[in-house]
């Protein structure tokens, strides 16, 4: 009986599919479409100040490294989707956006702060997770992406 309980407890994280460093990133159509690329999955919302600082910087990073196989996927967790859409019209970001008003993706990735970003390598494994955003975060992120782009 104890063994059964232990097995159930150990399998819970697998069932939940939470994103963890070194584990496969929970899949969704937009991410599957970028298979073979280095992808930054960014959970953001229009009401989150640091998210608004991060979005244009991720766009600049994407513009710089896209040719080498880097992509950003924005996941808009605004519960009122029109707020996010309004913001996107002003920012004009070139990378794909996924609406997640119900928070299903955020739940699968076990997002525990905003913004939350997950760097996924070419093989689909989460290599780096980050919560929050400061201007100084871009440089180490740039290095990490460049390093992952060199991996084949």
């Amino acid at each position: 009986m104890n063994r059964v309980l232990c097995a159930c407890a150990l399998s819970l994280p697998l069932l939940a599919g939470a994103a963890e460093t070194g584990q496969p990133a929970p899949l969704f159509p937009a991410l599957e479409a970028q298979r073979g690329k280095v992808v930054l999955v960014d959970f953001w919302a229009s009401w989150c100040g640091p998210c608004l600082q991060a979005l244009p910087r991720y766009e600049a990073l994407r513009q710089e490294l896209h040719a080498g196989g880097f992509e950003v996927i924005g996941v808009d967790v605004d519960q009122h989707p029109q707020d996010g859409e309004k913001l996107l019209k002003t920012l004009r970001l070139s990378y794909p956006q996924v609406p997640d008003a119900q928070g299903e993706l955020a739940e699968r990735y076990a997002v525990n702060g905003m913004p939350a970003s997950y760097l996924v390598d070419r093989k689909g494994q989460v290599r780096q997770m980050h919560v929050g955003f400061e201007k100084n975060d871009i440089e180490p992120l740039h290095k990490a992406v460049a390093q992952l782009l060199e991996e084949k």
């Binding site: 959970f43 919302a45 229009s46 009401w47 989150c48 967790v77 605004d78 519960q79 009122h80 707020d83 997640d100 928070g103 955020a106 739940e107 997002v111 525990n112 702060g113 905003m114 939350a116």
Partner: protein
């Protein structure tokens, strides 16, 4: 009150106390809480000025940091 009723009241009391324990919003559900009208102080600058004035007037009795005794002996 019978033994059964006591147990019933106890169970209902515990259930009511636990009722809101799972209501904490997740990180991505704070959109409505982030609205300006949800802030304790809608205008932080105005609140800071009011607090400063209050602190200046009531410093002798500990301002807002000490529970008042009401002795009137400041």
């Amino acid at each position: 009150m019978t033994q059964g009723m006591r147990w019933g009241v106890l169970v209902m009391g515990v259930a009511l106390l636990c009722g809101c324990s799972g209501m904490q919003p997740k990180a991505w559900q704070r959109g409505d809480l982030a609205q300006p009208e949800m802030a304790w102080d809608p205008d932080p600058v105005d609140a800071a000025i009011r607090q400063h004035t209050y602190d200046s007037k009531e410093a002798a009795s500990g301002s807002a940091t000490v529970g008042g005794g009401g002795c009137g002996c400041n």
